[in-house]
Amino acid sequence: MSGQAFLDRLKQQFGDEITGANLEAIDPWIEVSPSGLVEVCLYLRDQADLKFEMLNCISAVDYFEPDPKKAAKATFAPHLEVVYHLWSFKGKVSLVLKVMLPRWQDDVPGQIPEVPSVSQIWPTADWHEREVYDLSGVRFVGHPGLRRILCPEDWVGHPLRKDYDMPLEYHGIRGR
């Protein structure tokens, strides 16, 4: 199935939940709204001719330039992307889904954005989502146990955010 035909089919199925796409990119991607993510994922996994049964990777990319001089020249508006890389054993093809999120929920600094969890669809998402939550600060609604996975539980902040500041000390250990 070509990229455009596939996109049209998803658009017909889900309408406004498919909010964008880039078919010219090296890895063509499709953008899904957070509210439609779970439905789209279930559809991709269960349709007999698609069968995207394997979730390879969930990554979050923080588009934000903390340096005001560079920020003036930045080509993007500040936002956060969650990227899902899927794989189909049947068609031996991969698919990239993207969800765009604001950097902070309701523009309140410190309040991390929310996206529905897909760990009910692919159990492997459990750890991947914990990692994204830990390092990039995205809350996965419906996750069975959203705890930090690499940092200690009482760690403050999300280290892969571009405006993250290394803490000066942690339990008496000097940082920086």
């Binding site: 990119a25 090296i26 890895d27 049964e53 394997m54 979730l55 390879n56 990777c57 990554s59 990319v61 923080d62 080509t75 990227v83 890389h85 054993f89 031996k92 991969s94 990239v96 692919w122 159990p123 492997t124 459990d126 750890w127 990692e131 390092l135 930090r148 996975i149 690499l150 940092c151 200690p152 280290p159 892969l160």
Partner: protein, 402 residues
Amino acid sequence: MAVSHLEDQRIVEFDVRTDEMLVNMGPQHPSTHGVLRLVLRTDGEIVSEVTPHIGYLHRCAEKIGENLTPRQWIPYTDRMDYLAAMNMNLGWALTVEKLMKLELPDKARHLRVIITELNRIASHLVGMGAYGLDLGTFSPFLYAFRERERILDLFEEVCGARLTYSYLTVGGATHDLPTGWLRKCDEFLTQLLPVIDECHALLTTNAIFVRRTANIGVLSPEMAIAYGCTGPVIRGSGVDHDLRRDGEERYTEMYDGYAFEVIVQKGGHYPKDHDYPAVPSEAVLGDCWHRFYVRMLEVIQSVDLVRQAMDRYSTATGAFGVPVKLTEKLPKGEAYLETEAPRGQMGFYIVSDGTSIPWRVRARSSSFCNLSVTHELCRGCLIADVPAIVGSLDVVMGEIDR
């Protein structure tokens, strides 16, 4: 006369009564493969729940990657899966080449096959030896390490390092193979095969080994897929999937024209089954024994692949790579690529904003996903089975770390 300790029924009952107990395994227990900590909830000898904790090695590799150029980050990929550093180099190099749309000459391609398949042998030898050690046998460990040292000697001659090579890099390799190296490599492969047979005699067909691993930690193919398990773990469960054949074109074209069959059970037997020990009747598809067996057969397969690659390399034209500057500017965009590392699929994701330093670097490792299935495999097993199960997944903690 006082009643002895054993005769008093109440005391005996009190002594053998079991209760739920939390047991910490690791981070120092030798069978837990590095800094892995497992919290077991046990009732007597039976394990009811296993919770892995993995954050003890947090080295901020991804964050460092966002402050270095791709070629500068190559040494950090070495330290991810330190038992198969060449394969890690290759994964990252291919991802960056995909972003830069770089095409490599044929000679570089065959050189990469030789090096990565040799490293796969070395890695599986450690996996095999350490697994024997987990289950209480020592000699196969020594034999495996002796052979691995020979591979490291070969690598040392190629790039001067024995563990962290940084040899395969963006645009090919840092330099060509030294003269006379192919002959030494061929000699090594010839003497390796009898050793593998010896290991089969010591482990694969050993009655104790079979009892410890057969029908333990059975992973169904559906669960393996759902948990994103890859490599020998998923092939041990009978899923016919190997990125060297099924993966992205940029990776599979490395193996264009090579004759090899994916090691997976088809119709009740494995390819080359007639040459190697038969599957014991106790073993169930997807158990620890099968995962081990797939690794053993992959060693033989890699020997074959290295031989084929050496033939092609010695007649190939072109250079061993194309020059790429250390601070070469990256095109704007993003690329994701997965390669078949010894432990499974190693994926790298790079996002670039057009400068020479990537905006975002992401590593998706096989051990991370393979380990996440532990709590399903260990439910209801004995404490002694926990090392057997974790060992059969063959995790490397450096790879789980970010």
